[in-house]
Symmetry: C2
Subunit: 592 residues, 2 copies
């Protein structure tokens, strides 16, 4: 059973992501290290003792749809209520509406724990948090007053409605339509698919944020507006009243996260005989919906990245526990009675250390991204805030894509460590792989993240930002070298090589995009994302090892550097020289 | 729906694995290329038209246990009967007992097709084939006469019973026991788990091959004997009669291959009130059972490797088809109407080409291994046969482990290419990943394969064999260079670098094992297996491209060399320098 790794989470947050310096600099007001520790500790308890025990019933029973209503797995409704009562939903929400306005970095560390205990549970509130942010930034005061307090407390939940059958990665193809009503509201019509927590019995109302087009909207993404469409219309007293014309017509039968209802939502079809048209309220301006939605999406991308970290952590814990129990054969390092616990076999150790090291690196990247978001709001000067916002923009695709790839790879290694038992569902190792597999796909596939990184993020500040970032990571390599600690082995050299590879690939991609060699840049996007993530992750792990006076983190850092950083050279070569072969061979894939 | 890639299978078999030179040299008697093509074509038809359509019901309904009897999914019993009537079971079986004695390489190519259509279907007959080989080589004539013809025709099926709860990778821990009876037979007692096709309704009898210990057997693996234990005792007339004291007490609820019943088998527990003790017949000599079982296991390892190739092929086909249908966004290379089919996006092409290239490489390695087994029997001189047997021994762990890792990786990429649809079970992409995940585990985990490669296979002929093999692959790199074909890009240089890395790592590991630095060798086993497999796979793909006069294989070869071979340097570095960090960090994994 999952036990929150409080030490590693707190250490990474404070020493590697930068929370401690920010606290020390007084940027976080009353928030001190003790309070952070207390929050983490209580979240860890709740995740381990309350959420994790309900994982299995969630996976086995799943969410069930009947007559347009979704029943959540046994015990889950109560779990959600207890979780809301614990005040967990409003952790980073605005104080004006009852939130605790804690840093995003702390919220993300806590979110990791819910997701380690159950990804299907963790994903629901994530969408509510994104909606809170979108409403806070873009909604009219009357909408804020009606909805935000309930969403911040968790009394109601929210959803994001983007995808349609023909419009997934490409929102320009969106067809859902909105009509202006005379009272200033709108009527929404259309079908949305893959709507996470689109329908459930956790809360008395569900607030849908829906992208749709007005009749006179321009084509493409500049003609999309964002609407708030509640499941039940809310009276001036704040009480849910009449049923709105939106319903769930189906839920998906998925590989994993079975307890998360993935809904097809029908808007404006005259549900239960009412006059067709779901009543909606505009958020922000007409035709500017995509900008509002991006507020949600950036947050959600980091949150999905946390899911990758979370499932990797849970899978690693489970595999290490099993490897200490399961005995097979003899091992050099074991001189006890009977067969050796398989954790003594070098090949098993390689798998487990790879799992641990990748998890730690992904966590460090994600927390650094979260901290950058915080600093984008908290830093003293506008220039500093701009710097941190650029940093958050740069790191978001890494936090989303690298972490979720790590989630899949680590969960798969976890199955392998369990041997035959790993393939048996009752063991629970396979379920992590099933759950993890969605995270590289939703909230923008990892391919989309890589393209975003190369096309939009690298050119930030004319490329200066990413080069500055690489220089910061280089300084870590220098510090490792200067530390003269034997235990680091060849860490400094390996980090240098990796970061040189990043520099070279970065320059190449910046030139390619600047010179209009778009396909060359796109061809290198995915290997580049992994390249910079591995190098950054390695540097962060080293930074942690340097900051750790006990020295226990040094050995894993060395393992990372000497076993996992080598891949960076190959990735750089793919970026630099892979496009031509891709273009040549790619033709063969296209059907006549 | 799966369509057998007859061109690539036939080409790889003949031009890359060496079937054509063997036919031309007259080593295969009457077997000509035309007959091979006809067999492949008919197998492809059966796999695509008869097996594949029953995949889904197999996955959804699965095998069902009730009262110790397993009912196979609807339509599957008939499917098996038709398959047997087609003569497919006896393809490589001995002519003396009704088989067609075709080369193993042809049998493996055909086996690939059954497994592409359904891994759960393909795995059953695989075990029968292994049992046929074990009986043919080791059983007394009376046993052969009673069982072999029925097993060769497929009228009966067979199983392999090794694993017990405490004895998986380490068979020394085996506890099932055998007692001598006065009539020369034995009575078997004990529990076996993870027995594939241990019980089913395909055939009227099931022949279990069971490892057990005699009361006076030495401890460890030298005290294990192999027994034949039929489900129904067979009279002198060859007709199944009384029920033997063996039954299936449970089947596993697995991640994938749901239609393959994975059984717990109970021997000698007095099933249905009979006197306890399953009647068994000794195969080979007492206490020499492991050697007999290895006959089955080597064959089975290659067969499981074919499953990796098979599921990679099926997943690749499905992903390419989807990428040609699904439209999203704009792409540089697409100037047709509407959104571009996603196959035009470079990032999608990278995924698809990676899938194609890895599948082709894994297929080439597996077929080369199969051909080496054939040549080990057919080559003209004893020295040649010895050479080929060593080659088969060397390639078996590659064919098993690399191919099955490729199966998982490619199936996972296949899910990714499908985007959100990939996570929906009805799409079928996720099912390939679920199925593929068992192959790196069963028949000796891939970690065990890597250890076998490093500890037992590299030292063959004092290391001369593997170095000779590397030299052969080097010659391919030279031939690419000499070809002066532009389309190869940097293929020759990349192959050279990869093979140099293999040479260096090989010398290191041979020294480590020779000098008793066992843990260093074991620490490098897994990266070494992938290293030599990638280099060999790359060379085989290049060999195919050189042999292909149409030139269409050149572009994929270049893609492989310029995008996938770069990893080899990093893998070599892990082998050469990773052990120290692994040993240092490994201690942290061990529970106090």
């Amino acid at each position: 059973m999952y036990k929150a790794p409080l030490d590693d989470i707190a250490f990474t947050l404070k020493q590697v992501a930068g929370l401690k310096p920010a606290i020390d600099a007084g940027l976080l007001g009353d928030l001190g290290e003790d309070l952070v520790d207390a929050i983490l500790s209580e979240a860890g308890r709740f995740a381990g003792e309350e959420v994790a025990p309900l994982y299995k019933v969630g996976d086995e029973v799943g969410a069930v749809l009947k007559d347009a209503e979704v029943t959540m797995p046994p015990g889950w409704r109560d779990l959600y209520r207890r979780w809301v009562e614990g005040g967990w939903n409003g952790l980073s929400g605005p104080e004006e509406f009852g939130g605790q306005a804690l840093p995003i970095s702390v919220a993300m560390a806590v979110l990791e724990m819910w997701n380690s205990a159950s990804m299907a549970f963790g994903i629901g509130p994530t969408l509510t948090m994104g909606a809170i942010e979108a409403l806070e930034k873009h909604a009219a005061p009357v909408l804020k007053d009606k909805y935000l307090a309930k969403l911040v407390s968790g009394e109601w939940m929210a959803t994001m409605n983007l995808t349609e059958p023909q419009a997934g990665s490409d929102l320009a193809a969106l067809r859902a339509r909105a009509e202006r009503a005379e009272d200033g509201t709108y009527r929404i019509f259309g079908q949305k698919i893959f709507i996470t927590y689109g329908e459930h019995d956790f809360t008395d109302n569900i607030v849908h944020l829906v992208l749709a087009r007005l009749p006179d909207a321009p084509a493409g993404t500049r003609g999309i507006s964002l609407f708030l469409v509640p499941k039940f219309l809310v009276g001036d007293d704040g009480v849910p009243g009449a049923r709105n014309d939106v319903f769930c017509s189906g839920i998906e039968h998925k590989l994993g996260i079975h307890a998360s209802p993935t809904c097809t939502m029908i808007y404006g079809d005259g549900f239960k005989g009412q006059a067709p048209g779901a009543v909606g309220w505009l958020i922000g301006e007409e035709n500017k919906g995509l900008a509002c939605m991006f507020t949600m999406m950036n947050n959600a991308r980091l949150s999905v990245g946390m899911q990758g970290v979370a499932v990797a952590e849970a899978a690693t814990q489970k595999a290490i526990a099993y490897a200490n129990e399961r005995r097979q054969g003899k091992a050099g390092g074991y001189d006890g009675p009977g067969m050796a616990p398989i954790v003594h076999h070098p090949d098993v150790q390689r798998n487990l250390l790879t799992m641990k090291a990748l998890t730690q690196a992904a966590r460090a990247i994600a927390y650094n991204c979260a901290h950058a978001i915080d600093m984008g709001r908290l830093a003293a000067t506008e220039a500093e805030r701009g710097h941190w916002q650029a940093r958050a923009n740069l790191l978001t695709p890494l936090a989303k894509a690298f972490s979720t790839d790590v989630g899949v790879d680590v969960a798969s290694l976890g199955v392998q460590v369990h041997g035959g038992m790993g393939f048996i569902e009752e063991t629970g190792a396979a379920a992590y792989l099933r759950d993890a597999r969605i995270a590289p796909i939703y909230e923008g596939t990892n391919g989309i993240q890589a393209i975003d990184l190369v096309v939009r993020k690298l050119p930030l500040e004319g490329g200066e930002h990413v080069h500055g970032y690489i220089a910061e990571l280089k300084a870590v390599a220098d510090a490792v070298r200067d530390s003269n600690r034997d235990g680091f082995g060849r860490t400094a050299a390996r980090l240098d090589e990796a970061l040189d590879a990043v520099s070279e690939a970065t320059r190449f991609l910046l030139s390619a995009t600047a010179e209009g060699r778009q396909d060359e840049a796109l061809a290198g996007a995915t290997p580049y994302l992994r390249l910079i993530s591995l190098a950054a992750g390695g540097a962060y792990v080293a930074q942690g090892a340097l900051a750790d006076e006990t020295g226990v983190r040094t050995a894993l850092c060395r393992f990372f550097a000497e076993n996992l950083l080598g891949e960076t050279r190959a990735l750089a070569d793919s970026v630099l020289g892979g496009a031509a072969s891709l273009a040549a061979a790619g033709q063969s894939l296209i059907s006549a």
